[in-house]
């Protein structure tokens, strides 16, 4: 086991780790800047959150990723137990999403489950060859269905949907056949209307309003109720224009253009303050992060590590996409934070842990050597 100092040195000297560190640092900086303008008191607290989460990220570098993988099923089991337990805990604003500990510390089991799920799934896939067969998909889908179902009845539709999306990303990386994946997707698309009657009334309403919004038949009540926040968010982003409105935008937001803009709708703050250029920069940062993660995954021999990186990186990216789609009016309103930018400790902690695991892989993996790759290419030819 290497010492922490050695590991940190390794991170700093690893070429592929640099973009990860850099993009996370820049995204966190964007978070602080956006918060300083829209809700300064939260900016200060977010700095503390970043510090704590960074420590967690560094701690994630300590164990070998194989050790983490070995704990995968246990983590998964623990996560499921926590999800079950949270159903029994008292409801907070009519949902069962959080445990509330003394001093108002909140624990969201679904956040823990995000990591546990990816680790477990990657661990399951590491030696399997049968993902290319339909029957080999049964267990991965079953592993997904459990957290998906439990989180759906919390209810937290947005987070629940994240799991099948991550599953798909990992299945693609693990080598499942596209036609299998497409067929299952088609089944799901057909199956959703069947599931509709079983959804909670507010979820049904949400789906109906999304449908109406997309078909241009939304009525007034949509914009007053469900769609109000989203509409305000669109106004903030649109009014930002190409270069943004700077501090003026911040004032609008502070005056109530967008309530609680510092959490799920922080992308609107960025859009309003720094305009199209600011938004593009954020997009580029996320893409760079993902590209770097894909490079790490692509050059990692260990199948578990490779899938772990794919799972964690796509989990972060999917959250970003869902959130930004929501803020710009392209997608439904769901309770998913913008990774590294939204205010909030637990989401940041989860994402930093995920980033830590990616870095862990990047410093410990055994890579394909150039010679080996040439050999592989030649062998294929």
């Amino acid at each position: 086991m290497k010492s922490l100092r050695q590991i940190l040195w390794k991170v700093l000297t690893t070429r592929v780790a640099w973009p990860i560190l850099l993009t996370i640092a820049l995204l966190c900086t964007a978070s602080i800047l956006a918060l300083q303008l829209s809700s300064p008191e939260n900016a200060d607290r977010q700095q503390i959150h970043i510090l704590i989460a960074s420590v967690a990220m560094v701690l994630m570098l300590l164990p070998h990723f194989q050790m983490v993988g070995r704990l995968g099923y246990a983590l998964y089991g623990g996560g499921v137990l926590l999800l079950l337990a949270v159903m029994l805990a008292p409801a907070q604003s009519h949902t069962h999403r959080w445990f509330v500990l003394p001093h108002d510390v909140e624990i969201q089991p679904s956040e823990i489950m995000k990591i546990a799920y990816v680790v477990a799934l990657a661990w399951y896939f590491r030696l399997r060859k049968d993902v290319r067969e339909l029957h080999g998909l049964v267990i991965p889908f079953a592993l997904t269905a459990v957290p998906f179902g439990l989180i759906l009845i919390e209810p937290d539709l947005g987070t629940a949907l994240l799991f099948p999306m991550v599953l798909y990303a990992m299945l693609v990386a693990a080598g499942a056949r596209f036609r299998h994946l497409l067929a299952i997707l088609m089944l799901a698309v057909i199956g959703v209307p069947g599931a509709f009657p079983f959804l909670k009334p507010y979820q049904q309403q949400r789906i109906v309003s999304i449908y109406k919004q997309w078909t241009g038949t939304a009525d007034e009540s949509h914009y007053q109720g469900e769609g109000f926040q989203q509409r305000q968010s669109e106004i903030a982003i649109g009014a930002g224009g190409p270069t943004g409105q700077g501090t003026q935008a911040a004032q609008h937001i502070r005056q109530g253009l967008l309530w609680a803009a510092y959490t799920d709708f922080i992308f609107a703050v960025i859009g309003a303050q720094w305009g199209f250029i600011g938004c593009l920069l954020v997009l580029v940062l996320y893409l760079a992060f993902f590209a770097a993660s894909m490079e790490i995954a692509g050059s990692t021999k260990d199948p578990f590590a490779r899938l772990l990186v794919v799972g964690l990186a796509s989990m972060i990216l999917f959250q970003a996409v869902i959130n930004m789609y929501m803020a710009s009016g392209m997608g439904p309103v769901v309770g998913i934070a913008l990774p590294f930018i939204s205010y909030g400790g637990s989401s940041l902690l989860t994402n930093m842990i995920a980033a830590g695991l990616i870095l862990n892989v990047s410093v410990r993996r055994s890579t394909y050597s150039v010679a080996a790759m040439r050999y592989a290419v030649a062998a294929r030819a």
């Binding site: 008292p90 907070q92 509330v100 108002d104 990303a169 693609v172 990386a173 080598g175 939304a218 009525d219 007034e220 914009y223 007053q224 109000f228 509409r231 305000q232 669109e234 106004i235 903030a236 982003i237 649109g238 009014a239 930002g240 224009g241 190409p242 003026q248 004032q251 609008h252 005056q255 109530g256 253009l257 859009g271 305009g275 199209f276 938004c279 593009l280 997009l283 996320y286 893409l287 993902f290 590209a291 894909m294 490079e295 995954a297 692509g298 050059s299 794919v310 796509s314 990216l317 996409v321 930004m324 789609y325 710009s328 009016g329 392209m330 394909y368 790759m373």
Partner: protein, 730 residues
């Protein structure tokens, strides 16, 4: 490294990001201006500033109707809308006062409080109805009005001229802005002008009534209660037609070059607004109605900067001045009532009308005897409308009645001018017109009880003074239908007088109608004494006499001090000697002991002249309690001839009718220098000289008292008292 599957995954993500980038580019680059104008509606919080209605003054500058401050019971719109966030905020406030500890306990208590507040809000309409003595339906109807008002305001904001897709008036915008109006978070009046004890009750128990507040407001005060009520008129809630015709429109609050607030229709109506419903309030609605102001708060600016708040001040409605003398009318009304001058020949009170007009048409008094308190109109309206017997909403001075002998001076002037008669023409009165038929076309004095008196031979002056029917039957017959109609028309009888308030035109036969020669001659004969197919309103009669006294000068009676109407196109010229002969006759009506109005004016120093009228007419019969009397010999019939059956299973009858006599007196004073015309009319009162002339006398006395005429019969005005003191009306 070049794992094909990871490239696929990466490409999927890139595609997702590309779509997002395109969307953002569309929003932030191509559509930025549109989103900014959306933002403007958020940034610039517009709220309305209420205005007040103009004052109605009488000719002396006394305010008759004006807006005064009062307290209204109001409700926050969020309570009507059951706004969850607002209720939660209220609950949190209550929770803070309760010192509950523990997160769970607090959450539970908060939920309880929210339910409690929601229950209290739901119970409010009933509670308001109980405390304010209204029906719950009324309160709920008011809630609906408020909802409509908000909806209108919101639609308005969306249809700003600078927002795309507007400009077509017929097209109602279907999408509403997301902007929260100040009106959505502010109180709206439910019960206007609440008494102090109600206000005190709600202030003290405000905890039980979330959302209710007492606000400073304005109400219409009618300082003379019931005086001239039909003339002043009332306010009522704006109706759908007026809302459509003159709809409130929010002005453009942004986008103008200098930041000014422009356009819109701030004078327009919002649901729940009051508008003039009758009388001058309705007639001069556009003058009296003020325009709301707008206050625009720029929430993004520093509170101290000049941009932080811009306002367009409300425009107070313009005042209206009337030619009416409210003090005069109050005194005439009160004295007529106090002296029991409304009693007719049957000893019962009758309905009456009285007009005082200067010769140039300024109406000083327009009185109809059945009045109501304008300040109580909301409570009274239902019963007033239903009261078919008293018909208090009707202004009897503007209703048509058979004129009777009051037309005789007018007929005489026509006959003299047309040389049908001369001042010396003598006609012998035998008591009846047609030899051998003493029961029709009789003289009024030809009664068996009076020993079948007759006037004998007389000329036009005495015929006027003694109101000889035979003389004027003969004149009417000799004039013939065409000339009679011509002169009735010249005097404007049965024609629109041009008076501003809605008036019954009365009726005279159509000159162009084909008629049987004998029948026409009969009608012309009857019209000679003001009977037959003629009805005239008291105000038309006043105008006709003013025309006569001024030798044919047309007169348009008016009540607005700014008289802008055209004169009736009926200018004609009476030879001065004709006028003087007729005036001589009218002077003798009062001055000669033989005159029909000698007794009522006996002893009066003021020289009054005029003409009495006792017009035979048919009218519906009511019993002493004002209930209709049904004529059981005349059942109402359905179209197939079967008797109509009422909801109570009893057959429906026509109302019984009876013949009666309208008492008229049209006078002027001073007799030698006419200045004011007074028309008094009592429905079915009896003889004009006995029942209408005393009312006219009272009017002349009050004209003296109010310094319009020399104070010959009343003590001279107290120099200490303000000019034309309001008298007994407070």
């Amino acid at each position: 490294m070049l794992n094909r599957r990871l490239v696929v995954l990466f490409c999927v993500i890139v595609a997702g990001f590309l779509a997002l980038a395109l969307r953002l580019g569309h929003m932030q680059v191509s559509q930025a201006d549109e989103w900014r104008s959306e933002l403007d509606t958020f940034v610039h919080r517009a709220s309305l500033i209420e205005t007040s209605r103009g004052t109605i003054y009488d000719r002396q500058g006394v305010a008759i109707a004006r807006d005064v401050p009062c307290y209204d019971l109001a409700i926050d719109y969020r309570a009507i809308a059951m706004d969850d966030a607002w209720i939660k905020a209220l609950a949190q406030k209550r929770l803070a006062a309760e010192k509950v500890t523990g997160r769970d306990a607090r959450a539970r208590r908060l939920a309880q409080l929210q339910d409690q507040i929601a229950d209290q809000i739901e119970a409010e309409p009933a509670a308001i109805a109980q405390v304010c003595r209204l029906s719950t339906e009324d309160v709920l109807a008011r809630y609906n009005e408020i909802r409509e008002k908000i909806a209108t305001l919101k639609q308005n904001l969306w249809s700003h001229p600078y927002v795309k897709g507007s400009g077509d008036d017929d097209e109602q915008p279907t999408v509403n802005t997301t902007m929260v109006l100040k009106e959505e978070v502010s109180p709206h009046t439910i019960v206007p002008n609440i008494p102090d004890n109600v206000s005190f009750y709600f202030k003290r128990n405000i905890d039980q009534y979330p959302g209710l507040t007492i606000i400073d407001s304005r109400r219409r005060e009618y300082r003379f209660n019931d005086v001239a009520c039909q003339v002043i008129g009332t306010l009522r809630s704006v109706d759908a037609e007026a809302l459509k015709r003159n709809r409130f429109a929010m002005p453009a609050i942004t986008g103008t070059a200098d930041g000014s607030i422009q356009g819109g229709n701030l004078q327009g109506y919002l649901p729940g607004d009051l508008m003039g419903g009758s009388g001058i309030e309705k007639l001069e609605e556009d003058t009296l109605r003020g325009a709301r102001g707008v206050k625009v708060k720029d929430i993004a600016s520093d509170a101290t900067s000049p941009d932080a708040e811009r306002r367009l001040d409300p425009v107070v409605g313009n005042n209206v001045q009337l030619t009416l003398d409210i003090g005069l009318q109050a005194d005439i009304q009160n004295n007529i009532r106090q002296k029991h001058l409304l009693k007719g020949e049957d000893g019962k009170d009758h309905f009456a009308a009285l007009v005082v007009m200067s010769l140039d048409g300024q109406v000083l008094t327009l009185w109809s005897s059945e009045t109501y308190d304008l300040n109580q109109i909301d409570a009274l309206r239902g019963s007033l409308i239903k009261d078919a017997y008293r018909r208090p909403l009707t202004n009897r001075a503007l209703q048509g009645y058979t004129p009777g002998s009051t037309v005789k001076p007018l007929v005489a002037s026509g006959a003299l001018t047309e040389n049908v008669i001369t001042p010396a023409t003598t006609i012998v009165c035998n008591g009846y017109l047609f030899p051998g038929k003493p029961n029709i076309f009789r003289c009024a004095i030809y009664e068996e009880t009076h020993g079948a008196a007759t006037h004998g031979p007389l000329q036009v002056v005495d015929a006027l003074a003694e109101s000889c029917n035979i003389f004027f039957y003969t004149v009417g017959r000799d004039m013939g239908m065409d000339r009679m109609l011509k002169w009735f028309d010249l005097y404007g009888l049965g024609r629109d007088s041009g008076f501003e308030l809605p008036e019954q035109n009365g009726s005279i036969p159509d000159p162009r109608a084909q008629r049987d020669a004998d029948a026409a001659l009969m009608e012309a004969t009857q019209m000679g004494i003001g009977q037959g197919p003629v009805t005239v309103t008291p105000i038309q009669m006043a105008a006709a006499y003013a025309t006569l006294l001024q030798g044919g000068q047309p007169v348009r009676p008016h009540i607005l001090a700014k008289d802008t109407g055209d004169l009736p196109p009926r200018r004609f010229s009476l030879p001065p000697d004709v006028v003087s002969i007729v005036r001589q006759g009218m002077e003798r009506v009062v001055a000669s002991p033989e005159g029909t109005a000698y007794k009522p004016f006996k002893g009066m120093k003021l020289q009054v002249a005029g003409k009495t009228g006792s017009a035979t007419a048919w009218g519906p019969v009511y019993d002493d309690n004002g209930n209709p009397v049904w004529d059981t010999t005349r059942p109402e019939k359905n179209a197939d001839g079967s008797p109509k059956i009422g909801p109570d299973g009893q057959p429906i009858y026509h109302q019984a009718t009876a013949e009666g006599t309208h008492a008229w007196f049209v006078g002027y004073a001073p007799a030698n220098n006419p200045q004011y015309v007074v028309v008094a009319m009592m429905e079915f009162g009896g003889y004009g000289g006995s029942w209408a002339a005393p009312m006219a006398r009272e009017a002349f006395l009050q004209l003296e008292r109010h310094s319009y005429l020399p104070a010959l019969d009343v003590p001279p005005p107290d120099p200490q008292a303000p000019p034309n003191a309001i008298g007994s009306a407070q």
